[in-house]
């Protein structure tokens, strides 16, 4: 009998995601993949997985899963309340479960998304080399859609587990008001000075109509100079499109590969993670930087991530003391005479 996780409740929006489906944007295939790649990496490290292993991306309110395996180690990277059989367990910590256990990820306390990794990963068939789910085109993951009650997730057999790992303290909570760095372009010159003043001078409000395809921002309309249509061209993650409404959209992992709206600027890689955790109502302000600054920021972000991974360590056993064991241990052994010279 294969090991599986049975979905009792799919949660608000839970999908299988790895680091994305790369190499096929020239065929119109969106990369998809985890919105918060750092948290995916931490979740995988906590259970001893390869950093690129697929995990469950959880949005705001998580799933309930029953373990149908003799042993199952999993970990949640995210600020969510988690229970096993209705008892609280810590996030950012590997948990060992057995057959019949029910793990439930409740509501996010801060941020928006977390990642539930299972040791060994999922035994799902890849599509074009990736398990990432792109819901709009029903590509990848488990049947190309979000988890629903009744789904069964097949698990790969995991190696025997070592000590349980934890990240303590966990990363700080995301800020509700952020400055995000951008590089001008590729259509920066479509916008006159007034448009740039508006773009850089506004406290943009994250709209509830945001999703994995794009973060929509509410605020004043950004002035165009040359109209808002261009002949369709390619779109990188973080491109900020300004359609006819004048309201910017930061295009994210589920974006289309090409598009016909002018892109005023592009969020730098180091600051993309902010959009994975931005809640409706959060404030975003943009700051323009140059290519050299952006590359250096990417380097520093990668180094910071690696430092975080190095902080992952075996959990200290903080269980209650075993009194019988203490008495049995000859802790007072090796006593010498109170009057003898200790250096004889």
């Amino acid at each position: 009998m294969a090991d599986t996780l049975a979905v009792v409740d799919g949660g608000l929006l839970t999908t299988v995601q790895d680091l994305g489906r790369w190499g096929y944007q020239n065929a119109g295939v969106s990369p998809a993949g985890a919105m918060d790649r750092d948290r995916l990496g931490i979740a995988n490290a906590l259970v001893g997985n390869d950093p690129a292993e697929a995990a469950l991306e959880i949005t705001l309110s998580g799933p309930a899963l029953d373990v149908a395996a003799d042993a199952c180690r999993l970990a949640l990277a995210g600020d969510f309340a988690v229970t096993v059989n209705d008892r609280p367990v810590p996030a950012w910590t590997a948990i060992d479960l057995c057959r019949g256990d029910r793990v439930r990820v409740l509501a996010a306390r801060t941020g928006l998304r977390g990642y539930l990794a299972v040791a060994g990963g999922f035994a799902l068939p890849p599509t074009l080399g990736s398990l990432s789910t792109h819901v709009r085109t029903a590509t990848g993951g488990a049947d190309g859609r979000a988890l629903a009650a009744g789904d069964v997730l097949p698990l790969r057999a995991a190696r025997p587990a070592g000590p349980r790992l934890a990240l303590d303290p966990p990363p700080p909570a995301p800020e509700r008001k952020r400055t995000v760095r951008v590089m001008a372009g590729p259509q920066g010159a479509f916008f006159p000075a007034a448009g740039w003043e508006t773009f850089l001078g506004t406290d943009w409000v994250v709209s509830p109509r945001s999703d994995r395809m794009g973060c929509r921002l509410d605020g004043p309309a950004i002035e165009h100079a040359d109209g808002f249509n261009i002949v369709s061209d390619g779109i990188v993650e973080g491109s900020i499109q300004v359609p006819g409404s004048g309201l910017p959209i930061v295009l994210l992992v589920d974006r289309q590969s090409t598009g016909g709206y002018a892109k005023i600027a592009t969020v730098i890689g180091a600051d993309l993670g902010a959009f994975a955790q931005a809640r409706p109502g959060d404030i975003v302000r943009f700051e323009r930087v140059d290519d050299e600054t952006a590359v250096q920021a990417r380097r520093e972000a990668r180094d910071a991530f690696e430092r975080t991974l190095r902080r992952i360590a075996p959990l200290r056993d903080t269980g209650p003391p075993d009194v019988d064991a203490l008495f049995a241990a000859n802790l007072a052994g090796g006593a010498v005479s109170a009057t003898a010279d200790p250096f004889d």
Binding site: G188, P192, G269, A294
Partner: protein, 271 residues
């Protein structure tokens, strides 16, 4: 053919200059622009219109770059008039990528594009093309005349985009140009053959949204993940000619395509 670009500059109130890009280093017609799309994106832009010569240059550079495979290039996205190169700047510096691209342009400009010509079956009208009658009426033509015009042209594949496997075609006869529908459909039948503005389209074998006019269906699977390394059947630079087939033949061909056979014929096979 696009010529020299004027370097666009936007100057802010405090004097800060938002410069699109440095002036091209080499004077002369047809020098592409190099734009930044974040620190991991280089856009090589050959023009700003839908033009077969511009597109040929995009396709030629994409082919050359794909063969050179510089380390650090993640992928390339050829579009109508520009090539997006996605790269890892911690592995490959932008200036080295740009030098590599300029070298390829210097040595490959003018090379004839290897050309593939496909014959693609289409079942026009009826339940296979719900907008055929309407398109004909708009242009004062009979549906048969629309079919004759559509199937009588030779089309060029400009790019794949918007949705997996959606093929943008140029070469639509002028008499068939039809503005997009004001109300796009959220889901259209798979494999639709469509007209949108001055462009023609070929849709993949699954539903997708579209505001274009649906005049037929093709049994050909433009995109199929089961085809492994080459899920996309057509590529930019390919030429396509359509020919009408009856509904019964459409059903047979669609079944064959779903079983894995390529039901479009290639007339110029250069691999």
């Amino acid at each position: 053919m696009s010529g020299q670009y004027v370097t666009p500059v936007v100057v802010m109130k405090d004097g800060e200059r938002i410069v699109e890009e440095p002036a091209p280093t080499a004077a002369g017609e047809g020098t592409p622009r190099f734009l930044e799309a974040g620190e991991g994106g280089l856009v090589v832009e050959f023009g700003d219109a839908i033009d077969p010569d511009v597109n040929r240059r995009v396709v030629a550079l994409d082919r050359a770059l794909s063969m050179a495979r510089p380390r650090g290039v993640v992928e390339t996205v050829p579009t109508y008039r520009s090539l997006l190169v996605v790269f890892d700047p911690l592995v490959l510096a932008r200036r080295d990528l740009r030098t590599a691209v300029e070298d390829l342009l210097a040595h490959h400009v003018g090379e004839a594009e290897p050309s593939r010509l496909w014959r693609v079956p289409v079942c026009y009208g009826g339940e296979h093309g719900v907008d055929l009658v309407d398109v004909a009426a708009r242009h004062g033509l009979t549906p048969e005349e629309v079919v004759g015009l559509h199937a009588g042209a030779e089309y060029r594949v400009y790019m794949i985009g918007f949705n997996p496997g959606f093929v943008y075609l140029g070469g639509l006869p002028e008499r068939l140009r039809t503005s997009r529908r004001p109300d796009p459909r959220l889901r259209i039948p798979p494999r639709s053959v469509s007209i949108g503005g001055i462009q023609a389209g070929l849709c993949p074998p699954f539903e997708m949204p579209s505001g274009w006019h649906l005049i037929g269906q093709t049994p050909v699977r433009t995109f199929d993940p089961a085809r492994g390394e080459e899920p996309m059947l057509f590529r930019p630079g390919d030429r396509i000619r359509f020919h009408p087939v009856a509904p019964a033949d459409y059903d047979d061909l669609a079944r064959a395509a779903d079983a894995g056979h390529v039901v479009a014929e290639r007339e110029d096979d250069d691999g």
